[in-house]
Amino acid sequence: MAEVAPGKLNPAQVQELCSIVGKEHVISAEQELLVYECDAYTLEKNLPGVVVLPNNTVEVAAVVQFAAKHNLPIIPRGAGTSLSGTVLAVTGGVMIGLTRMNRILNIDYQNRRAFVEAGCVNAWVTNAVKTQGLLFAPDPSSQSACTIGGNVATNSGGPHTLKYGVTTNHILGLEIVLPDGQVVWLGTEADGGEDVDGYDLRGAVIGCEGMFGVVTRVLVRLIRAPQAYKTMLGVFETVDHASQTVSDIIAAGIVPGALEMMDKLITQAVEAAYHFGFPLDAGAVLIIELDGLAAGLDAQADQVIGICRKNRAREVRSANTDQERADLWKSRKRAFGAIGRLSPNFITQDGVVPRSKLPEMMQFVQKCSAEFGLRIPNVFHAGDGNIHPLILYDEREPDQVRRALKASDAILQKCIDLGGSVTGEHGIGVEKIDFMGRQFSKDDLDAMRMLRKVFDPESRCNPHKMFPGSKRCADFAPRKQIAA
């Protein structure tokens, strides 16, 4: 693999980009580039050489061709909400921001599809179609900011993936600008039938973390919004009881729309921030949402309440109105935001374990908290076995940083040991590179490298991500030294 050129641009190159997208859509002053030095993963930072904000596919292709000609890295970027450093410009280069390409191009209600630009915000899609009883199922907590293109890159999930699946289950087709500047359409065409011939290249691109090219337009599947919801809040004395309830609900053959857990620490923080009315002394709460046809939903809810009671739930509340349901979900989805009240910094992990291993995993997290002397609140997709321990630390205390990284490592290793994965939805990015060699064999990783080469023979698109041995940010080493 040829070493890519150092990712800085000279004034003539910046000028060339200005001529493609317009001067006002090129950011090259260091002061302004600071916004783009990282995403929501802030442990590593580096400035891109330049940021361009194209307005359409033709402009994206021209920018990509420019980068190919000058052998510069390209880094596609949506809203920058990645939690794993997926859009970090590790060695500078041309960052391509899709935020101006945020239009909904067409909605086909009859065939339940929406055709959108990659920079379209996730929540805008559902907002646009909900009056017709439809919705776009993937609902990450960042959905009011994150983009469809970003969802495609990371194969995003959200609370409702338990029943409805993740992004890949809801993307029919997509347009991608390959790193050589070619524009290709993969999967179902906007006005074509669902089934297409050939390989599922669309499926290969979804979850590639922006390493195969720049996705510019996306055809998404819309689903019928459930006729009815039954949203409940189960209040438990201990995390163990709540975990067992999750297992028992699944074992009873019930697939809720969502099944989310918040432990005591996070419930207290959320309550302090949003005043939903969560109990402050409960060991854990479960948000259990059943959805589907109204017929029989109450009976199923009774069954769930019975399971909660069997596991000694203190009480089970029901959201009685749409507003109550919305408030409950707002509290859950803003939980990360409430952490600021507890700690100046935190590391979020999103490992996955088989559902039945959840009680064991949660006990391990508590053990880590005690062992490393750090508070670790938990708010997560319990039904999927997808944990989100939030390891609290203060970056001004080097020893805390070191302990936080160690706790994080121990928790993810435990996920692997229990037959799970180090990431259920946030992605590898730069953050979890070191775990790839633990979760996958050398041959597995080689097969992934082969696939990358098919799309990007020069490894120039979003380089230094995913694979062990990748180059780290210059800014990371000193911090690590402090931590060590």
């Binding site: 086909d108 009859q110 065939n111 194969n155 999930g157 993936t161 890949t168 289950n169 390959l178 290709v184 359409w185 065409e189 074509g192 039938g193 669902e194 089934d195 297409v196 050939g198 390989y199 599922d200 499926g203 979804i206 590639c208 019928r224 297992s247 699944i250 053959g253 019930i254 697939v255 589907g292 046809l293 017929a295 029989g296 199923q300 996955v352 088989p354 039945s356 076995g385 037959g419 799970g420 994965s421 180090v422 990431t423 939805e425 946030h426 590898i428 790839m436 979760q439 996958f440 064999s441 041959d443 597995d444 990783l445 080689d446 097969a447 992934m448 082969m450 990358r452 799309f455 995913m466």
Partner: protein, 309 residues
């Protein structure tokens, strides 16, 4: 060359030899790889070897009240490997999706003999690329699938199937539209003329309450005659093999008229028509350069079959 390896290691060695000799492998018989490797009902996941028959897997899952909700017409003749390679599906596709929606992990032996895996055993996992998607519908052109992990679902408590004879394709279109505009959630929404008459077939699955309510709704539309899904078996048992045409669901009746006098089974909710008679539909637009590069990267010596296009 036809391979019949006793185990994965033997297959690996055979592929190394075939690659060295650049000899084409026509078929791989995986009948000795037919075990259910790991099944945890409480996790709703199952890992199975690729030579296992779908019907055997379903029987295994059924003991715990679960199933893999993919229903090609002849599960007793369909191995898991073939199900994946040919991306097979059946009438319940409208309600449950296709095999890619349930595939969470895959093991395959590549042309150079290396055993590789993509995904894993948990229902949500974005570590690494989604390698397993490449193999779905790959017709064995990239490697030999030896095992797979699926998420599975609880078997529905009840399923009821109804049919309705349509006077014309337009009539069927208006019926389909009426069904889709109501809050019903059919598991099957088929249109077929295998039985001699253009017939709309719907199935509802779920709790008894859900199914009863939808049956009542259907009756209000005049759909009340009980039915089976047997037309699938008789259609696919006959020769020659049907052609496939995939269209926007809203264009289904228009395209059926265009196809003229053919025997067909249509997944009306998905817009996929299988038909016998008439002419073959031209393949959809395929990104040839990427396709060729993918094939050349994974099978540089051309030992596996070409992707049929």
């Amino acid at each position: 060359m036809i391979l019949k390896p006793a185990n994965v290691e033997e297959l690996q060695r055979a592929l190394v030899d075939a690659s060295a000799a650049r000899s084409r492998i026509e078929q791989v018989d995986l009948s000795s790889l037919g075990r259910v490797v790991e099944y945890r009902p409480e996790d709703m996941t199952v890992t199975v070897e690729a030579g296992a028959l779908l019907s055997d897997l379903q029987a295994h899952l059924k003991q715990s009240g679960q199933w893999l909700p993919i229903d090609p017409p002849f599960p007793e003749q369909t191995t898991i490997g073939r199900l994946l390679c040919e991306n097979l599906s059946g009438p319940r596709r409208f309600g449950y999706g296709t095999i890619r929606d349930y595939l969470i992990g895959l093991s395959a032996v590549l042309a150079d003999g290396r055993l590789v895996k993509g995904g894993g055993k948990v229902v949500k996992n974005v570590a690494g690329y989604d390698l397993q998607k490449l193999f779905v519908g790959s017709h064995g052109s990239l490697g030999v699938i030896v095992g797979a992990t699926f998420k599975v679902l609880p078997l529905p408590a009840t399923e009821r199937i109804l049919q309705f004879e349509c006077k014309s394709p337009d009539h069927s279109a208006s019926m389909i539209q009426q069904i889709l505009s109501r809050p019903m959630t059919p598991a099957v929404l088929d249109l077929q003329n295998v039985t001699g008459v253009c017939t709309l077939v719907v199935a509802f699955a779920g709790t008894a309450d859900e199914v009863d309510w939808q049956i009542a709704e259907s009756k209000r539309l005049g759909i009340s005659e009980g039915a089976t899904l047997d037309y699938n078996r008789s259609f696919w048992a006959a020769q020659p093999l049907p052609f496939r045409r995939s269209v926007l669901p809203s264009k289904l009746s228009e395209v059926l008229k265009e196809l003229g006098d053919v025997q067909f089974v249509a997944r009306a909710g998905n817009g996929t028509i299988y038909y016998r008679g008439g002419t073959r539909t031209a393949p959809s637009r395929v990104p040839m350069e990427l396709t060729k590069r993918l094939k050349a990267t994974f099978d540089p010596n051309g030992i596996f079959p070409e992707l049929p296009l």
